[in-house]
Symmetry: C2
Subunit: 131 residues, 2 copies
DNA sequence: CAGGATCCTAAACGATACTG
DNA sequence: CAGTATCGTTTAGGATCCTG
């Protein structure tokens, strides 16, 4: 896998390179649940179960997994209090708030333009995705 | 062109609903290759093979599939000229340029902050994703 | 309550071969 | 050239049970 490790600064367009590390981060952030977690946490601190309730349809496993990935990237702060029963809170780090803003902007655009988009879909009677 | 804005607009927070149609669009746009295709097409019109060469690591199948999804959403315009050999061009629609800007903004943020992010990762010696 | 461990299914993905 | 079709592999995702 690793051959000539060039430690040069990632330039614009690096994204198109196969091994660009940005791709992984991008995937974590834009994953099915990643987006929702980031946007959800913009409105404050949540406990695991609260977050799970807020985000419709997410399983325990995926929520935990998503939170771990985002924590590893430094976007989410996990604060556990050593009590019984366990009390764990999740919030955005400063960096997390920055990405979240970007992600929210994209999500907002889509929500705001859903009708235009759906209209396009209808017009083409898309038979590819619906199948 | 749409004057009839009287239909109820999806409000903020719809995204958290299980059946929110935005989620699908969001997935198409933020999918592994969707992001790259959108950003790539910001710099102009491309033929299939050119696009494939530009985007490192994408297979024919996935590129075709991604393009079709984005076309169905009305983000990508496919222009085929009935000649032999086939000549097909892909470009962004107006709507496509709008989403692409959002997506690019996110991608740029990540590329620009990669070092900060990687530093976080190192600091935590993430053992979850690498495993 | 917050998750880890396990098991399983569905979907994504990729390589190759083939066609108009 | 620009795909489609097929197949095999990998990953995402979910259900359930279990523990501190």
């Amino acid at each position: 896998m690793n051959n000539t490790e060039t430690l040069d600064q990632p330039q614009r367009g690096e994204l198109f390179a196969v091994a660009c590390p940005s791709r992984q981060v991008l995937q974590n952030v834009t994953s099915r649940w990643g987006v929702l977690v980031l946007v959800a946490l913009m409105s404050g601190t949540y406990r695991f179960s609260d977050l799970r309730r807020k985000i419709g349809g997410v399983s325990e496993k995926m929520l935990a997994q998503t939170l771990q990935a985002l924590e590893a990237d430094g976007f989410v702060l996990r604060t556990a209090r050593p009590v019984v029963p366990p009390y764990v809170e999740y919030s955005l780090t400063h960096m997390g708030q920055e990405v979240a803003r970007e992600v929210e902007s994209l999500a907002d655009w889509i929500e705001g333009n859903l009708y235009r988009i759906m209209a396009q879909r209808q017009a083409r009677e898309s038979e590819l995705q619906a199948a």
